[in-house]
Amino acid sequence: MLAPGFADPVHDAQGTFRAVMDALARPGLPQRLDAGPNPPAPLTPELAAIALALTDADTPVWLDADLAASSEVAAYLRFHTGAPLTEDPARAAFALIRDPARCPPLARFAQGTPAYPDTSTTLVLALDAIASEAGLRLIGPGIDGTARIALSPLPDSFVAQLAENRAGFPLGVDLILTAPGRVAGLPRSTAVTEG
């Protein structure tokens, strides 16, 4: 038996989207994400909610090694979203990352093109915890002055990779960070430095 998706597909998808939209519009300000679905492990409810809300047959999805190892996860996503799974990160519209420590370099994902920078990958990462008002320092659109955000775990060289990602603006990937019950956004427009 496949685990069910959203209990209320229309309004749960809307609520998830709004949380993600607000998170990307206000980097460094985590939003509440009441994730409905109860997906097969190791997919987290937050990753599942975002996948269900935003992916479909038009969006190739890349899964990290942890998620790709589970045939149940692939079956769950295929059934509920209809999204094609891809093994090539450079072709992915969305990438779901369960284990941020083993996330491929950001530069390996689709970066968009100068004419169409929107064709870059959106990465959705599952973290253990996200806290604001401490940690990394953020500057950019959506931020009143500066904001701070603490991510755990913080993958190696993550800050350097984010700096490189920002330097390529308007090209670059956008990050949606999740933790239990929360979502935060790090769009490519945000400049991130160590606190």
Binding site: P9, H11, P114, Y116, D118
Partner: protein, 336 residues
């Protein structure tokens, strides 16, 4: 008074009719002699109201907020990318809506994609809640989503607009959705999409500066009074939609999220909150907004954008607020 006298004073309201407001004649449409009929709508609650007949579930036979879920997902993805690249126009597969292209289909699609049950929607056209197209769009959402609508800028979570930004400062958490006819700020300099796309890719905006400077050399002023181009977050030059340049400063560092939808031209773009929006100008000719020499004839406010109303056929004029909500609120406060 002409045939207009036959109309009930606050006609179709459920639109914040609690304030017994002197509102100006907005629509020539009303010059036609309509048959009088009783107002069937229930008394509205003070700030939020449902359209007559609208249920929680919205119009039977259509999805919540009209669009199917696949279309909403597609628009939502475009909105996220638009927010990530402020001022860049994201192409999207605009759908045929049950209202004409050019009448707000882009704004309607954006609003439909973001709208949730808890939202309170305000729709304005020319700054006013009671213009026919604003009424039509507000009614569309009330019918298809059953959500609450309002005329109060402060009570709204989402404000869809054509041609104005409310005078009341917006706050964090509010979303302003603009209806955009021509999203490409370079279109009148270069009609070809293939060319303008390259110019944006290269951030090659010299032609726009040359055009503005030609105005100065010919007229002594920049002769662009609305849809005045802006630079967003130091990168993309963006069309703010045909708002008067008077409203441009309100876009800069606004606490509200600003989303722009162009249905016919199939583009969505965005300005996140707290983002720099700079009106293009020159050191020797800095950007300036329109100034009105007299205050609003109804509420007495100065510093608001005013409509010029022709009061007779011998040159009589009066100036009144284009933003009906703030004007009515001020009149009501003064009467108290």
């Amino acid at each position: 008074m002409s045939a207009m006298g036959m109309l009930p004073r606050d006609g179709g309201a459920p639109d914040g009719a609690q304030v017994p407001s002197p509102v100006r004649e907005r629509d020539r449409v009303r010059d036609a002699p309509y048959p009088e009929r009783p107002d069937p709508s229930p008394q509205p609650s003070p700030e939020r109201e449902r359209a007559p007949g609208a249920s929680e579930a919205g119009e039977a036979g259509y999805n919540f907020a009209y669009l199917d879920e696949g279309t909403k997902r597609m628009i939502r993805r475009a909105i996220l990318k638009a927010i990530a690249v402020p001022g860049y126009q994201v192409p999207f597969a605009s759908r045929e809506m049950p209202m004409p292209y050019g009448w707000g289909t882009g704004g309607v699609q954006v609003t439909a994609a973001i709208l949730g049950r808890a939202d309170v929607l305000k729709v304005i056209d020319q700054g006013a809640d009671d213009t026919t197209n604003a009424v039509s769009i507000r009614r569309f959402f009330a019918r298809t989503s059953g959500i609450a609508t309002t005329t109060r800028t402060t009570a709204a979570t989402i404000i869809q607009t054509r041609h104005r930004i409310p005078e009341t400062p917006l706050r964090e958490g509010q979303i302003l959705v603009y209806q955009v006819p021509i999203p490409e700020p370079l279109r009148f300099l270069e009609p070809r999409e293939t060319e303008t796309r390259q110019l944006h890719a290269l951030a090659e905006y010299g032609a726009m500066h040359v055009k503005l400077y030609e105005d100065i050399s010919r007229h002594g002023h920049i002769a662009t009074t609305y849809a005045y181009p802006v630079e967003v977050a130091g990168r993309y030059v963006m069309d703010p939609s045909p708002t008067p340049k008077f409203d441009n400063p309100k876009m800069d560092q606004s606490p509200a999220l600003q989303l722009f939808g162009a249905g016919r031209e199939r583009r969505i773009y965005a300005v996140p909150p707290y983002t720099s929006v700079r009106s293009l100008d020159f050191e020797d000719h800095p950007f300036r907004v329109q100034e009105f020499t007299e205050p609003c004839a109804l509420c007495g406010a100065s510093g608001h954008y005013l409509d010029e109303v022709v009061t007779d056929d011998s040159g009589g004029r009066m100036y009144v607020c284009s933003d009906t909500d703030i004007c009515e609120t001020r009149v009501a406060e003064a009467a108290r």
